[in-house]
Amino acid sequence: MAGPPRDASRLKREHFASLYEENFTDIYAYVLRRVGTVEVSDVVQDVFATAWRSAARMPEAPQDRLWLYGIARRAVQHSQRSLFRRGRLQHRLEAEPNEATGPTRIADQLDIRLARAVGHLRPKDQEVLRLILWDEIDRSDVAVILGCSTNAVDVRFHRALKRLRARFAITQATGGVGCDPKPAPEY
């Protein structure tokens, strides 16, 4: 039962407990947005278990919350890597529409067209949109999570919106369902 000094240990435990308490719902939502309902519990567990194991590197507030988002981002990426590696997670394409909010047929069509337009954006630009508009994280904090400058976040955000606007207009105009099930990536 040898270990680190008890005071440090106790403080870290308390710190972790409050971090968990304050961020559980937000992290859960963050993960749910990205991996869907089937995998969400496993990935959320990964996030907090990893944070617990690496509690020695847990920064003080308010940076601790961003540190947690960084871990969540890697856990989501890992789950997406696993999708390739093991084919375990591929049983699901995307989160099914939430039953409680059951979108109408029209809203459904709108979502599909939007999703298709978003699919043409660069992956990092998509993530900037999600972090700002869905997770409602400040741009300076988004910069910390993504490891880039706030300026770069602004650039990505505005570029993404501009392209989305253009793409979406095109999609709306043609409105057709293509034969190719996969959108061509834009690089």
Binding site: P4, R13, F16, A17, Y20, E22, F24, T25, Y28, L32, D42, V44, D46, A49, T50, W52, R53, S54, A55, A56, R57, Q77, H78, Q80, R81, L83, F84, R85, R86, G87, R88, Q90, H91, R92, L93, E96, N98, E99, A100, T101, I112, L114, R116, V118, G119, H120, P123, K124, Q126, L133, W134, L161, L164, F168, V177, C179, D180, P181, K182, Y187
Partner: protein
């Protein structure tokens, strides 16, 4: 005119959902599990070390247990698999040691593969469900070819490039189901990736300081002090998974590989599949571990002992809830086709050419299995046994093989193959 910003914000998939709070039963249970299962590492672990080998006492105990499980004892590993792994271990042990990856350089690995992607529905959306409204929804599956390159430095920085090719439907019935569902995109847009990643972003196992005694190594993996820091499945299935993780896209030394093969040889339940053809059409020797209705195969080059590729095959569809496929269906396969140390994330080892590989669509299993026995999709249409050409055009180019009509899945004749 529309406001694209609010349109995107409104598309938030969790909008309007009730999310669990920190004092919900789910959150409380998870917290208890995390805070009681393993002690956090409060000692300073700053620096670039991504993973820490800990729990020496525990590993020692487990090693003692592992040492008691010797070949010949009840529950001992299948001898044929153990013999093949012992041979691979000997080959690896005879190879010259390579220098560890220098700081600032990257371990590069390229792979080609095939992923089965399925559209599945919640139970109450399935045909026959009393709550289903509108026309019944059917599941459908496509094979999506994937090309992947990864550059990983010792500090976890690097680059990940991954792109999906044109998908092919598993059967004509899958195509029909896709059309009736409005022909949605089947490959998630987020799957195509090309990004430079900062320090620590690429999750890779830390191979420095791993024990090279097979028993100690196996014990460490079983205790989860070696290998993935992200949740591997519990039990032997996870242990086999971590052995794979230490080999794939890493610079595992011949000595470490020798130890890993022997560790796998000591695992009860590891079976020999025999000679197979990997996703890139190369011949190799496969060993596997089956669990949860799937069989995970590691395919080795018998001459060089390196990991050629991997595959996951369905052994029991009833355990794959809501996924309506037959026994023997390939869920995933990949081939590691090039690797080496490079100076930058824009370099590849000399002679690397990804265009020279063609991944064939795995053939449908010849036996129809028991898709209708799945308790989750009892009234879903059967997959049929058709091996007819996929309806969506594909860039793949199946090479003819000695096996005749089956382009790649010659081993799939006996997906449950176990050496007795």
């Amino acid at each position: 005119m529309f406001d694209i910003e609010s349109l995107f914000a409104d598309a938030d998939p969790v909008r309007g959902s009730s999310l669990p709070s920190a004092d919900s039963p789910e959150a409380t249970y998870l917290y208890q599990q995390i805070s009681s299962s393993s002690a956090p590492r409060f000692s300073a672990q700053h620096g670039t070390q991504v993973r820490v080998i800990a729990g020496v006492g525990l590993a020692g105990t487990a090693a003692l247990v592992a040492a008691l499980v010797v070949p010949g004892a009840p529950g001992a590993p299948t001898s044929a698999a153990a013999a093949v792994l012992a041979h691979l271990s000997k080959v690896a042990a005879g190879q010259p040691a390579a220098a560890a990856l220098p700081a600032g350089e990257y371990e590069y690995t390229a792979s080609v593969g095939m992923n089965l992607i399925s559209r599945v529905y919640e139970n109450d959306e399935l045909p026959g469900s009393p709550t289903t409204s509108g026309p019944p929804k059917q599941t459908f599956s496509v094979y999506a070819p994937v090309t992947r390159q990864v550059w990983i430095a010792t500090d976890g920085s690097g680059r990940l490039e991954q792109s999906y090719g044109t998908p092919s439907f598993l059967t004509p019935a899958d195509r029909a189901a896709w059309v009736s569902d409005g022909s949605p995109d089947v490959v998630p847009a987020s799957s195509d990736v090309d990004s430079i990643e900062p320090k620590g972003a690429l999750v890779a196992p830390d191979l420095s300081n791993l024990p090279t005694n097979p028993g100690t190594l196996l014990a460490g993996i079983e205790a989860r002090t070696v290998g993935s820091s992200f949740g591997a499945p519990a039990g032997a299935a996870g242990t086999f998974e971590i052995i794979g993780e230490l080999l794939r896209e890493t610079d595992a030394s011949p000595r470490l590989r020798a130890a890993l093969y022997q560790a796998a040889a000591q695992m009860p339940g590891v079976t020999l599949i025999g000679t197979v053809t990997d996703a890139a059409g190369r011949s190799g020797t496969a060993v596997a571990y089956a669990s949860n209705g799937e069989q995970n195969e590691l395919i080795f080059d018998p001459t060089t002992s390196v990991l050629l590729g991997e595959a996951t095959v369905v052994t029991d569809p009833t355990q794959l809830c809501r996924l309506d496929v037959s026994v023997g269906t390939v869920l995933y396969e990949t081939s590691y086709v090039a690797s080496g140390v490079v100076n930058s994330t824009s370099d590849v080892p000399e002679g690397t050419s990804l265009t020279s590989y063609h991944v064939a669509i795995p053939s449908s299993p010849s036996s129809s299995g028991s898709p209708s026995s799945s308790n989750c999709s009892s009234t879903a249409p059967s997959q049929g046994t058709s091996t007819s050409s996929p309806t969506v055009s594909t860039t793949t180019n199946p090479p003819p093989t000695a096996a005749g009509n089956s382009p790649i899945g010659i081993r799939r004749d006996r997906p449950n193959g176990r050496d007795e």
